[in-house]
Amino acid sequence: METMEPILAAHPFFKGLEPRFLKLILKCASRETFTPGQFLCRDHEEARKFYVIHQGRVAVEIYRARRGPVAVQTMGDGEVLGWLWFDQPYHWHTDVRALDLTRVISLDVACLVKQCEQDHDFGFEFMRRYAHHLAVRFRVIKLQLADFYGD
């Protein structure tokens, strides 16, 4: 079975990360597999995991009381999913459902935060990547809100 290290090292989110930092991440990592239809997380649950998707595809859904779920984003290989928090655990605000057989490396957020606090160089590097990820997400959401195709 392939170890998690080469998967993380090849993943776009972690690409180029120093090996010693990768080792810190591996302390918080475990493998998970989701079959189609299975939820990676549900609305209101505590967000305790940060998912590194390395195979498969998931849909990010918002549940509407009368009309059921609406998917607002799909994510797949090479993407990450989740919140990093430093004070209180955040809660998920969406449901995330596997569309295909999806393999992830899930990172325990409390463990990650601890590693960041113990090694500030690692913490800065990890947060730098996370900030970039959030910036891209915000840009994409802005475009969706702008009704891209409505002109």
Binding site: G68, P69, A71, T74, L143, Q144, D147, Y149, D151
Partner: protein, 279 residues
């Protein structure tokens, strides 16, 4: 003796043979000449002025197959008085047609390159003839990718054709929508995200983009980020064309008349005008 050229300002009557509802507000019309006879020869990306008698004239891109010139195909969105009349035509209804006008997509020039066709919303209609031509001469091109985005699955044009294209081994089709119900199994997100997944060799790629301005702007930024040069990117611009032959000035865009110098422009030639809001 010089051959007789038809007056570009005189509409030719065409008869509606078929009208098909594509989405809630968009229809595809198949037209043939009322007089019968000659085919309608055009190049992918060109447009016609469609005259709804008693209502007015609008510029509409040709969305049919250049290799099937016996039928003239237009996909029209009901967004104003004239297009409303056009969309309500029935079989045997008559339209005036002037054209074809404008600069086409550079399909010939793309031979030997990878081809990216990127459409947003109604923008698939002007790109469809280019895709027909590329597929007809498939061996002349490298990788061919169609990236198409719309608001919802219900807003996708030509869904059956998209399925057929998707089944081909020599074409990669990426369809994405902004949001969807759970029965939708394709991508959800903006087209710019899909570009990251497309297979192309940046120095040897020609990209053709058609869609709303904001979509084209962000698509261009992403393509440049992926390594394309502005001279490899072509955009189709939409302006209020009136005469169609560069006389009236209605469609002036900086130093260009979109009807005559466009609607397809190489991006490096228009990039300084692309971002200017006042033109």
């Amino acid at each position: 003796m010089k051959a007789h050229q038809p007056d570009p300002m005189t509409p030719t009557p065409f008869v509606v043979q078929r009208i098909k509802r594509e989405t809630a507000d968009t229809y595809t019309l198949n037209l043939t000449r009322a007089s019968g006879g000659t085919h309608f020869i055009f190049a992918p990306g060109q447009f016609n002025m469609l005259y709804a008698f008693g209502a007015g004239e609008v510029p509409i891109s040709i969305s049919g197959d250049p290799a099937a010139p016996e039928v003239l195909v237009h996909t029209v969105r009901d967004v104003g008085n004239v297009t409303r009349v056009i969309c309500r035509l029935q079989r045997e209804g008559v339209l005036g047609v002037r054209g074809p006008f404008g600069v086409p997509w550079p399909v010939e020039g793309a031979a030997g390159s990878d081809v990216l066709l990127i459409a947003g919303g109604l923008g698939l209609a002007p790109l469809r003839p280019a895709l027909y031509q590329v597929l007809r001469r498939r061996g002349e091109f490298g990788s061919v990718e169609l990236i198409y985005g719309a608001r919802t699955p219900r807003d996708l044009l030509y869904p059956k054709e998209l399925e057929r294209w998707r089944g081909r081994f020599d074409l990669r089709v990426h369809v994405t929508v902004d949001q969807a119900e759970s029965e939708w199994h394709s991508n959800i997100g903006v087209v710019t995200k899909i570009i990251e997944r497309a297979r192309f060799d940046p120095p040897n790629t020609v990209a053709m983009i058609c869609g709303p301005g904001v979509m084209m702007r962000f698509t261009i930024l992403e393509l440049i980020k992926q390594g394309l040069k502005p001279g490899q990117i072509y955009v189709s611009m939409e302006r209020n064309m009136k005469c169609g032959i560069g006389l009236c000035g209605h469609c002036q865009w900086g130093p260009f008349f979109v009807c005559k110098d466009g609607p397809v422009f190489r991006y490096d030639r228009v990039r300084n005008w692309f971002e200017r809001r006042e033109v």
